[in-house]
Symmetry: C2
Subunit: 342 residues, 2 copies
Amino acid sequence: MKPQRVTLADVAAMARVDRAVVSRVINKDPTLNIRPQTRERVLAAIDELGYRPNVAARSLRTSRAHMFGLFIPDFANPVYAEIIKGAEAEAAAQGYVLVTGSASGTGMGSGTGLGEYMDRIGQGRIDGLLLAGTGDEPGLIEQLDRAAIPWLMLNNRSRGVKRYVILDDQRAAALAVEHLVRLGHRRIAHLAGPSSADTATRRSAGYSAAMRAAGLPEGPITAADYTPAGGAAAMGRLLAGSERPTAVFVANVASAIGAMEGVRSAGLEIPRDMSIVAVHDLPLASYLYPALTTVRMPLAELGRRGVTLLGSLKPDDTVAEVMAGPIELIQRRSTAPPGERR
Amino acid sequence: MKPQRVTLADVAAMARVDRAVVSRVINKDPTLNIRPQTRERVLAAIDELGYRPNVAARSLRTSRAHMFGLFIPDFANPVYAEIIKGAEAEAAAQGYVLVTGSASGTGMGSGTGLGEYMDRIGQGRIDGLLLAGTGDEPGLIEQLDRAAIPWLMLNNRSRGVKRYVILDDQRAAALAVEHLVRLGHRRIAHLAGPSSADTATRRSAGYSAAMRAAGLPEGPITAADYTPAGGAAAMGRLLAGSERPTAVFVANVASAIGAMEGVRSAGLEIPRDMSIVAVHDLPLASYLYPALTTVRMPLAELGRRGVTLLGSLKPDDTVAEVMAGPIELIQRRSTAPPGERR
DNA sequence: TTGTAAGCGTTATCAC
DNA sequence: GTGATAACGCTTACAA
């Protein structure tokens, strides 16, 4: 019952060596030439005393915190949950701790809350920062650079900043459209995301390219927030048009949920009157009614990759990477040939 | 473009005072008697140089990390997303950083992964630890106590450990049952959670108490994992029984999702043939088909409360708190009087 | 093969 | 009112 902290000195005393030796044993210094029995004594003492190195002292000395930051808009968004999982696993594999902060954990007086997050993080607590789904805030990138903290945007680009890893949203969109074409649809609408979201513009580009490739005219296009409410309103606009489409590619699951509601509340049936396919195969997709056809992309891998890159980023490196990795269409019940019930 | 770190000494030099003075200005030392103009010089220098205190040095000196840990089973579980949000906001309000780790971020060789998390966290990095939805692992609590790190279990109790904050799951369950009774149901089944989950046993107790209070015989009871698959299987057992219930109280949304699928695939209709109500009003509940009636509990508040308590916990304090706060039934379309369509 | 000593950037206790 | 100084616990040349 002694709440005294045990330090290197205690271990050294018990093992009858110098603190330096203990330190080098712990850190597996390859240049250390030590007698096996001495090493044993040290190891035994560490074990006996339950010694654990003090992180603050170590960080101060080495100026490495062994901690990465990850900033996201919202923990409740399952897209980021997947990214976090990958990032955390990779960080752990490297012996790093991941400290994830969200915009919702801040007052958000202005902007994304990134500034407040960085204030709380303080100087010297993290060795790198991943920015997922958030734009930069004016001046913050500069602040990071001045502090020589490597940073990287995940799943999102911003204003010509050349330090990002993104998924191949364009290909994902194309996959979705091709699926609809294959089912026989010709009037394929696009329920796009907000133009402020980088993913939205990439998915829209993919839609356009795929429609062109299929020799089809781009159907009605309308944009909405990545929210159910936005999706429902947008679907209303789509249904009010003169030539009603038979299928729609929705840029995001959240809007798709609203879009489905929009179809139902117009007295129509999915997929008979409207096929729907959306991006990101989140767990909840299979529990919607009807189960939603989606495009799956490697979100967790994106998180992993971000951490990996962060670890090996030089000050002025530029990173513009589109993640390789499987992108697949997960067919469920929300898509069918036009007029069919499924 | 100087990646040099600016330290207290730099500020002191620029303001032509001693480091000690700068330190005391920054920390608003009330015993500091300083000439206004001097303070101005210091503040100006801090601003000019963009000085930010080094966290490692500060931690080493004060042995406070200004960081709390939070360990959860899985980021993808929306229940924890809510808890995190509350905890993060409260931590931020106290000037603390929250470092959330999950079991999925570890190899999970054995147990919950808590051990690996704590290893990575190391000594002196956190001032307190919140354990949400995880049992203790043998020896880990002792390790925390030895290191004098306050800890607290959230939403979960374990083996007679008297340091927890939980929600009033019993009352939540009662609310759900009372709702069904009010609709006219008499054969009300219970799809319980796994007996290993503390929340499950409390919800079951609430079910029993409410049934007794209503003068109804406890309907069939069956247990399942907190997963859709478990819920579907359990619903199968319920439907196979001799006297089919007209309503069921499901301990958890995830199992409820499976249970709904189970009802549908038996060719029955919700709520006409079976009313369903479940615990936790997660966002997705309103997007299920039919929209799920739930009981809402203050999850974010639970997170906040946990952090608040952590901050003021003395070594041998005992905490056994059932959160006050609103618990309400959110009626949607999955419940109706027996035989009615809604 | 092991020990010595300096220093990382702070804060706290004095002294002036 | 402000300055000196000694820790906090660790790593890393370099010395022995």
